[in-house]
Subunit: 249 residues, 2 copies
DNA sequence: CGGCACGTGTGATACAACTCACATTCGCTT
DNA sequence: AAGCGAATGTGAGTTGTATCACACGTGCCG
């Protein structure tokens, strides 16, 4: 199952790629140190695609033929069990890269990628990308750093899920998301639904909702539709550090 | 906290490194394609160290100054929460590499490393290792593959912990460990205590024991002291694939 | 050949989180 | 402005695991 729900494929992106969209990628840690010439060459390999909400980009187990980056919207990386439950690994926002694992090691995809909102993405074929990396060793080092960062993110997730109970896991997830989304320094708004958080954290939406309501009355968070605002990160951080102790929660 | 319980540090390993011990590392996917000359050079950078059971090699949060490899024995990668519980990420056996994340990205260590048995390890300093990688781009590609493999391992762990209940998680852990340890093709003996498995899986030893006993009466596994033998992997695999359905367990 | 630490085995009880079954609110589409 | 789907809010009842509190086996070390 690949590329269902694609609105339209633009031409392969040879010349005249919308340059404002590329500016964001140009600033990505992976590419920021690359010479302009090399970056332009990479862009000529890229395809620009638009997906509508709910569309599947690829599924777990598919061969990994392409590296992707989000231009606008968000892509959900998740897996689902046969009995219908699903777990979200990560939500990928504008300027972020995804799908790199399968591309780099040539194995199958580790998760499903679906458009969580309508979105524009940027796709590079493995056959063009790999030789490019080989001829740019400094890029390989950048990818090593990228993989390390993902590994830290995922290890954190294991740590929280194994060691913490509901309040701890939820607090930890909120903090991680707030750090990641950090748009403006003051703005702690996280654009996720309660259903989504519940799937990241591995607990039911109902349980998450009840805990969030408790915190809302304490003014630690404010609940909006499709978003959560972290008003006071301190007590949440304290909860995470205290381990799975209950202490009045 | 670094290097407590070190039995003795041999000299820095310049010349005359015990070559039988290196043979194992030479075969590691990371190094097997390296020219002998380069490999020898790397060995001259290495230090040989012996640790006794329980010794701490490094702790989560320490600066990551060295890359390590196990020669003999096993090293436990784990984290612990303030309330005393702990979670095991992985057990590193002979011929395996660990501590690469912090070395490669220059950040702090993501977990504690302790000697799970008396063991011999092989240590390379970051200051010597990084330049070596930079001057051997093919090695960088190998490390990318290594990181991808670790990421797959860790993602699997998240998937199981979030989606599965006790039987599913336990079955999944047993299968993963059996694949990893796979010494002889027929031998499905996993050298771990029930306590250790419980910490890998995030459930209590008691619960794990009760489930294992059920499977033992069904001849799916045999329990030994400090080890578990997988007799029939099929029904375990089926359990994992069925998701968290209970079906007579 | 103790003895002592570590690993294993097992039941009774408690509770955190799930399930199910709704009611409510929001925001978009027509 | 009406309607509808998606997101949120909430309670009563159920259950999977944790906790606690033991007893037993085994193997190593002095």
């Amino acid at each position: 199952m690949v590329m269902t729900g694609v609105l339209h494929d633009k031409n392969s992106g040879r010349r005249s790629f919308p340059s404002d969209k590329l500016a964001m990628l140009r600033k990505h840690p992976i590419f920021c140190d690359l010479e302009s010439e090399a970056f332009d060459q990479l862009c000529r390999y890229a395809k620009h695609t638009t997906l509508k909400r709910g569309a599947t980009l690829f599924s777990k187990g598919d061969p990994g033929n392409s590296l992707c980056a989000v231009i606008s919207g968000t892509v959900k990386m998740s897996i689902s069990s046969p009995d219908g439950r699903s777990a979200i690994f990560n939500l990928i926002g504008p300027g972020e890269i995804f799908g790199e694992i399968a591309v780099l090691d040539g194995q199958s995809r580790t998760a499903d990628a679906t458009a969580n909102t309508n979105c524009e993405i940027f796709v590079i074929d493995r056959r063009e990308f790999l030789p490019f990396v080989r001829s740019h060793p400094e890029l390989a080092m950048k990818f090593i750093e990228l993989l390390c960062a993902k590994l830290r993110w995922t290890s954190d997730q294991v740590e929280q899920v194994i060691l913490q109970n509901l309040p701890g896991r939820l607090a930890s997830a909120l903090i991680r998301l707030a750090d990641k989304h950090k748009l403006a320094p003051g703005d702690r708004t996280i654009a996720v639904t309660q259903q989504e958080i519940s799937e990241m954290v591995g607990m039911t939406r109902e349980s998450i909702n009840k805990q969030l309501r408790v915190w809302a009355t304490r003014k630690w968070v404010r609940l909006e539709h499709g978003a959560i605002v972290v008003l006071d990160a301190e007590p949440l951080q304290a909860l995470v550090e205290a381990g799975s102790g209950s202490e009045g929660d």
